[in-house]
């Protein structure tokens, strides 16, 4: 490392220490930039792929009220994807590069979206648990050290709370309905509970990127800390619904002041990450179809139209 570089690195670390945000044109270590591009683009991909399991139910929502609510939520997720892609682009990657990485399977997205939404109750469970888990993570990220990422998170968090509430409201309605409807809600909880806990990523002892990310204040809380927060909140919420969380080991630990819970099936987690989840292939196909088969001609046509318009306005001026 040259003296100049050492000096730049010191300034960078001093800023991180002093809670001064890092902005796009500021000097930053290559590894910091790379970590951010990886994390922010994965986060963006998750927002976009996350539209698919819920989009599945827009046309079959049980009432107009539910339909407009779900439609608005899914539309928000598209916006979240956009804010995040834009934040990643400030680091020198391009939208096309990120799209290619997603469509070729080089980049990952949250594994939770590789599970199917097979009943209407799943839409309730996804809003309540999946958005709930995402919020835990995203609230932490509003304080992340990279300015554009933190600002995107502030916008996103403002919109997310409606997502979780509309999900909880769906669960609430089902739980106050017929025995059959309540059973449907319980079934959805049974299937979504463990995958939701996996959303926080591997245990702190196993997580490969965590330590450096904490030093750089990209992450401010560890995977296990966030997971615990989520379990504690959801355990109380399940009581309000009158549903049972599918974990016989879940119980309040007076001494620790938090819940104990059973161990996660990490084997399943890694299987889904590796592409062997129920919906991995469907999700990838839907994305590639949207971007390539059905999307590329639209983008080309818009470019051609814009070019023609600007040429004809030049003629008018001349």
């Amino acid at each position: 490392m040259t003296a100049k570089q050492k000096n730049l690195e010191d300034i960078f670390l001093q800023k991180i220490d002093a809670e001064v945000k890092i902005e796009p044109k500021d000097w930053m270590p290559d590894a910091y930039r790379k970590t951010l591009v990886r994390q922010i683009s994965q986060h963006a991909h998750s927002e976009i792929v996350g539209m698919l399991p819920e989009g599945n139910w827009i046309t079959r929502a049980p009432s107009l009220k539910r339909k407009i609510g779900l439609l608005a939520k899914v539309q928000d997720e598209a916006g979240h994807g956009l804010y995040l892609y834009s934040a990643a682009e400030t680091l020198g990657t391009s939208r096309g590069e990120m799209m290619d990485a997603l469509n070729t399977g080089k980049a990952k997205y949250s594994s939770i979206f590789n599970y199917p939404t097979i009943t209407w109750a799943d839409i309730g469970a996804v809003g309540w648990l999946v958005d709930g888990a995402a919020i835990m993570n995203q609230v932490m990220l509003t304080r992340t050290s990279y300015g554009p990422y933190a600002r995107a998170m502030v916008r996103i968090c403002k919109e997310e709370s409606f997502h979780q509430r509309q999900g909880f409201d769906i669960m609430m309605t089902l739980c106050n309905g017929t025995a059959q409807q309540k059973a449907m809600a319980q079934d959805a909880l049974n299937r979504w509970w463990w995958p939701s806990l996996m959303m926080f990523g591997p245990s702190d002892s196993e997580s490969q990127h965590s330590e450096q990310s904490m030093i750089w204040k990209i992450k401010r809380k560890s995977n296990d800390t966030l997971r615990q927060q989520f379990v504690d909140a959801a355990a109380e919420q399940a009581k309000v619904l009158g549903l049972e969380i599918p974990d016989p080991e879940l119980q309040w630990n007076e001494e620790k002041g938090c819940h104990d819970f059973g161990s996660i099936n990490w084997d399943e987690f890694w299987q889904v990450v590796k592409g062997n989840g129920i919906c991995n292939r469907d999700r990838m196909k839907a994305r590639v179809d949207a971007y390539e088969t059905n999307g590329s001609w639209v983008r080309e046509a818009a470019t051609a139209y814009a070019k023609k318009q600007s040429q004809s306005s030049i003629h008018k001026v001349a």
């Binding site: 391009s94 939208r95 983008r299 318009q309």
Partner: protein, 94 residues
């Protein structure tokens, strides 16, 4: 890699009497699409009453490396601030 739509910066005035403020960016083929997309992503909950979009390539920015030298003309000019001037206590508001 295929050609991308240009990048635009989006500025939103949240209500009359306030400045337009930078809220983010997006890609669009032309200005009309940029405005409409900006409306759809950045003002879905009535966050604005007016939007500016400008192609990012037209923005000239000061460089962070020269931050201290660029802004140092203002550094030693305490006399530009009201507290530099002592006014007797009897003079209540000035």
């Amino acid at each position: 890699m295929k050609a991308e739509w240009p990048l635009w910066e989006v500025f939103v005035r949240s209500k009359a009497g306030l400045h337009h403020q930078h809220v983010g960016s997006l890609h669009a083929a032309d200005e009309q699409m940029a405005l409409e997309n900006a409306r759809d992503v950045y003002t879905r909950r009535q966050e604005g009453i007016s939007i500016w979009v400008v192609k990012s390539e037209y923005i000239t920015a000061s460089s962070p490396e020269e931050q201290s030298s660029f802004f140092d003309p203002a550094e030693d000019k305490v006399y530009r601030h009201p507290t530099f001037y002592d006014i007797p206590d009897e003079v209540k508001h000035m």
